[in-house]
């Protein structure tokens, strides 16, 4: 069970990193996710059915997601549509696009070779894990290197302080569009991998992905904290895997698959609350320590003042004896 959620988590990790880029780096809740995830899946499966290799098809899935993100970026920056609405618009539009790409609402793979089939013939779970590690390894290394360049710094600055960034020569619109683009490319890559793993693409597979993404981002940040970009990227990987594990546990408790979506929502609410509660507890604990040190100090002073009561009383009350 743990092993299978590990494999699934690895395949979901690009989505989590994609959501991380918009949500954490650019500070935008991007709903395009719900459209670009099935877009990647639809593109990949359709291309494979039409005879393309799994490599080309996966790559094209990534590119498809990039396009979706690019559109949202244009809507947000050039047309000044609020980011939340821009995401909803692209997501809605992509539904039709996905239907056209697939031709019907569910397209299964037949005998086509998926990416895991190119690996030695191990058990399916092992293959999934190895493929997941290879792909997420490439993604994390590439992003880590990108964030070490001036481009990455400009991207982070834009998300943090737009005014300051443009005053320092950064074309913030370009940076935001770039962020949307790679983010949704990664999300679509996840969709493409999940579709290959499931053996089909479905029009409804994007529903709830933004909740999954956000919850995984937060779970990751709860378990692995740090300021360096490498730690933050790895935290996303941890979040993706732990989130899958949480869902597997919930399923093991006997929840039917239909309840998965509400479980996702509840998990998101919980992980949003955990850091808040934890901070409160921490503050309270430290305050207690501080206050107890303070009162100890006061007691010392009281002891001292008892030793020479007359002086203190006399000076303070003006009652000179």
């Amino acid at each position: 069970m743990i092993i299978s959620s590990l494999g699934q988590g690895l395949l979901w990790a690009p989505l989590v990193i994609g959501v991380f880029i918009t949500f954490r780096i650019l500070d935008i809740p991007d709903l395009t996710t719900e459209g670009s995830f099935p877009f990647g899946a639809a593109m990949t499966i359709s291309l494979m059915i039409n005879g393309q290799s799994a490599f080309t098809a996966t790559l094209m899935g990534f590119v498809a997601g990039c396009l979706g993100g690019f559109v949202t970026g244009i809507l947000d920056t050039k047309l000044h549509i609020p980011s939340l609405l821009a995401g909803i618009l692209t997501m809605t539009g992509l539904y039709s696009v996905n239907m056209h790409v697939m031709g019907k609402s569910n397209v299964p793979l037949l005998t086509q070779k998926v990416l895991t089939d190119y690996l030695p013939s191990w058990a399916t779970t092992t293959q999934t894990i190895v493929l997941g590690i290879i792909i997420i390894g490439i993604v994390i290394v590439a992003l880590y290197l990108m964030f070490k360049t001036r481009l990455g710094l400009s991207l982070m600055a834009t998300g943090n302080n737009k005014n300051m960034s443009s005053a320092n020569g950064i074309n913030t619109d370009k940076m935001i569009i770039f962020g949307y683009t790679i983010s949704n490319g990664l999300i679509a890559l996840s969709g493409s991998l999940i579709a290959q793993s499931n053996g089909y693409a479905d029009i409804g597979m994007g529903i709830g992905t933004i909740v999954i993404g956000l919850a995984s981002v937060l779970v990751g940040e709860i378990f692995l904290r740090g300021r360096s970009i490498l730690v933050r990227l790895l935290a996303m990987l941890v979040g993706a895997i732990l989130y899958r594990f949480l869902l597997t546990v919930a399923m093991g408790l006997g929840f039917p698959p239909d309840d998965l979506k509400i479980l996702s929502a509840i998990i998101l609410v919980i992980v949003i609350c955990v850091p808040i509660v934890r901070n409160k507890l921490k503050t309270r604990k430290q305050l207690k320590i501080y206050l107890s040190q303070l009162t100890e100090g006061e007691q010392d002073e009281q002891v001292r003042s008892i030793k020479r009561p007359k002086f203190t009383k006399g000076v303070l009350s003006g009652d000179r004896e």
């Binding site: 360049t149 710094l153 600055a157 943090n160 302080n161 300051m164 443009s166 005053a167 320092n168 020569g169």
Partner: protein
């Protein structure tokens, strides 16, 4: 530089024509809503001008974006939070300010010897910032952030430095320190500067030229000797007219 006939819908700036000479240090004063900030924002590009032109070394930049103009202009805002990226470290902020071109280059931004260079830069501020290069800027105090903003704005050696009441949010002592630092840097780097201030004493003490803006128009423009003769009561008196 010229700004003839700059105006916008509410006619905040009307027929403003101003020539800024190389090396000028201009203090801009005027009552609230007079259009001082609008003037600065129009020059920087944050606000679009409906008509007129802004010529920077004989090049009209009126249609250019803020980021394009930033190759020649730098700004320090009133709010210390505006001029720095709080989540990024002091060093990263300085990297951003160092060069306003090639902001999307794929070269590493951590260059060898860079930190030492930044330490040298920060030492004269005497705020202990040179030992806190890796600290996120959000943990610095308002005064430290503003001093850093100022340093960042002058790092790229801009042709024009715009200061928008940059000491207004600081306590009296820090405000004085930042003002002295401003004067020192401007004089050392010979920067052409436009500074908005509400402190008459600062307006009189610093700079070689004083401009008063009222109702979107320049009502007073004195420089050199004439400026020296002004005193603060005389100036406050002019506000009523």
């Amino acid at each position: 530089m010229f700004f003839p006939g700059t105006e916008n819908e509410r006619h905040i700036l009307k027929n403003v024509s101003l020539k800024v000479y190389d090396g000028d240090f201009i203090s801009l004063i005027g009552n609230n809503g007079a259009g001082k900030s609008t003037l600065l924002n129009t020059i920087a590009g944050t606000l679009p001008a409906d008509a007129g032109s802004i010529n920077l070394e004989n090049k009209n930049v009126i249609k250019k974006s803020v980021s394009y103009r930033s190759r020649w202009m730098s700004r320090v805002f009133q709010d210390p939070k505006m001029g720095t990226a709080g989540e990024l470290s002091v060093a990263e902020n300085l990297v951003l300010a160092q060069s306003h071109v090639n902001t999307t280059s794929l070269k590493w931004y951590n260059k060898k010897g860079q930190l030492e260079k930044f330490q040298e830069l920060l030492k004269p501020l005497d705020m202990g910032l040179e030992n806190r290069l890796k600290t996120q800027v959000k943990y610095l105090s308002g005064g430290q952030r503003q001093a850093l903003s100022l340093l960042m704005a002058t790092l790229s050696k801009p042709k024009l430095l715009l200061l928008d009441e940059h000491t207004a949010a600081l306590d009296p002592k820090t405000s004085r320190d930042v003002m002295n630092l401003t004067d020192e840097i401007v004089n050392r780097e010979k920067l052409t500067t436009m500074m908005i201030t509400h402190k008459m004493s600062d307006a009189l003490k610093y700079g070689n030229r004083l401009i008063m803006v009222q109702d979107g128009q320049i009502t007073l423009d004195v420089s050199g000797e004439d400026k020296m003769k002004l005193d603060s009561e005389e100036l406050v008196g002019m506000f009523d007219n």
